[in-house]
Amino acid sequence: MTEPVQLPEGFATLEPFVARWSLRTSAERDRARGDSTEEEREAFYAAAQPLLEAALSYLDGFPARQLGEKEQRLMDLVLSLAHVSLAVEVQKEMEEQHARQRNDMPITRSVTDPA
């Protein structure tokens, strides 16, 4: 049985990450980073970072506030990369310690959240 296709054509390699990382708000994406394991973050980063520019330029072709379901999922997925890349590219082995500190500074408003 094939799984239903969740993302636009060309982004099939990101399908396994939709359930974990395609999230609607900045606070949820930050929380997912904090709740994830190093393996999960690295796997997501390894798949998504090489497709970041392709995904954004594909999505830039649509009216940004009226995305179709698959495009919306891809957008929300890519937005999680903003958070996960900081863990993988910047914090590295310091990520676990950093994650504990992040709980002290909750995101209370984000312009990227759905209206």
């Binding site: 900045s26 994406r29 930050d30 970072q49 970041l52 520019e53 995904a55 954004l56 330029s57 999505l59 830039d60 649509f62 940004a64 957008m75 890519v78 937005l79 990369l81 903003a82 958070h83 890349s85 900081l86 590219e89 910047v90 914090q91 590295k92 310091m94 950093h98 500190q101 992040r102 002290d104 500074m105 909750p106 995101i107 209370t108 408003r109 984000s110 312009v111 990227t112």
Partner: protein, 402 residues
């Protein structure tokens, strides 16, 4: 681009006029000293509390709770477009009128006995009011002084502020606040924290570079190099009770990551498109007394305000102001990244500030020390303490006159 930056000299001489004395540690933990600061400074100084983009339409309001005053303040745009402030307290028996942090209202109606106040604070109606022994005119909401500069909303809890907001800010700060990108902002991201630390101790962390390489070895790596190993600024400015600094531009930041290489050109595109470049306030940091600072950069911007809660507890609010809504997926991603990376750095400061407070609380240290490149911290203490001393003299004179 390789520019010779070996000639960089930290602006240590610009802080010489502040003196070199050690600073009494008490000012950072003692409840009696804090009580003086609370009365002398916070109960009668203009304080940043919001932005006009939160009050776009008549009837838009925000509620802000100021713990140091045990006050809840409503700030509302009236039908006439004027922004006014009121204590969030029904004049009947004190009940708080609004529980929401923000929203829209045609009137403020007390949940207890349905007293109905207009957006101008006037008591419009109250059930069976004829049985009261007062007039409606006497029952208007208690006003709070409100004014705006560069889009920033300030309040003053002094019923009759000694200075107007513009007098308090002074010409230089007014001109800069009106120039920075945040003055045109239409929306913002926000993150907040509460911390077991004195308001000055907390704020000081964000006005010196000395700690960057130790506390932000990863996130701050672009801010220091062998030529300027502590990432000290290029210049300081002192403007009455306020301060500024101009950050040193690292001309050779060799630390951008793959995702940053995607994001940074998008941000430059945003700044150009919104007419924010070239930005005369880029790399400029404006510290508005007592607890506010804002960064002028259109691409790496944020504001930060620290409110005291007690001698050893504070609340911080950090905002990233944006001009115009995001219009594309790329724009949206860039704004998400800016929020995440700004917070990434700030998160790292909280624990070390708390550790500073735990070290001070016993009173074992009589003094703390600021070096030449911590001159902004010294200036904050000197200004605050000057106001506290003047307040004490004022109280003593008032006592003798009685």
């Amino acid at each position: 681009m390789n520019i010779d930056v070996a000639s960089y000299q930290p602006p240590a001489d610009q802080t010489a006029w502040l003196g070199t004395d050690p600073i009494p540690a008490k000012a950072y933990y003692d409840p009696d000293y804090y009580e003086l600061e609370r009365q002398a400074i916070f109960m009668r100084t203009w304080l940043t509390i919001g932005h006009v983009c939160e009050l776009l339409e008549p009837g838009s309001f925000i509620r802000r709770d100021l713990e140091f005053a045990k006050a809840s303040i409503l700030i509302v745009r009236g039908k006439d477009g004027v922004i006014r402030g009121f204590h969030n307290a029904c004049t009947h028996r004190g009940t708080q009128l609004e529980g929401r942090g923000e929203g829209k209202a045609n009137a403020f109606i007390c949940p207890y006995h349905r007293w109905n106040f207009g957006l101008d604070g006037a008591l419009r109606s109250a059930p069976d009011f004829e049985r009261f022994y007062t007039t409606k005119e006497n029952c208007a909401l208690k006003p709070v002084s409100v004014d705006v500069c560069g889009g920033m909303i300030f309040v003053n809890l002094d019923p009759e502020p000694a200075q107007s907001l513009h007098e308090f800010l002074g010409e230089y700060i007014v001109e800069r606040l009106e120039t920075i990108p945040a003055a045109k902002a239409t929306d913002f991201c926000e993150y907040t924290y509460e911390i077991d630390a004195n308001w000055k101790l907390t704020y000081d962390n964000f006005q010196e570079s000395y700690h960057l390489k130790f506390i932000h070895p990863r996130t701050g790596a672009a801010s220091y190099t062998p030529e300027n190993p502590f990432g000290y600024p290029e210049n300081y400015g002192f403007h009455g009770v306020h301060r500024s600094q101009q950050f040193w531009p690292n001309y050779n930041p060799d630390v951008t990551t793959p995702v940053q290489q995607t994001v940074f050109p998008m941000l430059a595109g945003y700044a150009t498109e919104k007419g924010l470049m070239p930005d005369p306030t880029n790399r400029e940091y404006y510290a508005v007394f007592p607890g506010f600072f804002i960064f002028g950069s259109p691409t790496q911007h944020f504001s930060h305000v620290v409110y005291p809660i007690s001698a050893t507890r504070s609340r911080g609010v950090i905002r990233l102001y944006w001009v115009g809504d995001w219009e594309t997926a790329s724009d949206r991603f860039a704004r998400e990244y800016c929020l995440a990376i700004a917070r990434e750095v700030h998160v790292e400061d909280v624990n070390v500030i708390k550790a500073g407070q735990r070290g001070l609380n016993s009173g074992a240290l009589e003094h703390i020390h600021f070096q030449a490149l911590e001159g902004l911290c010294r200036h904050l203490y000197l200004v605050s303490n000057g106001i506290v001393e003047a307040y004490k003299a004022e109280q003593e004179a008032a006592g003798e006159a009685q």
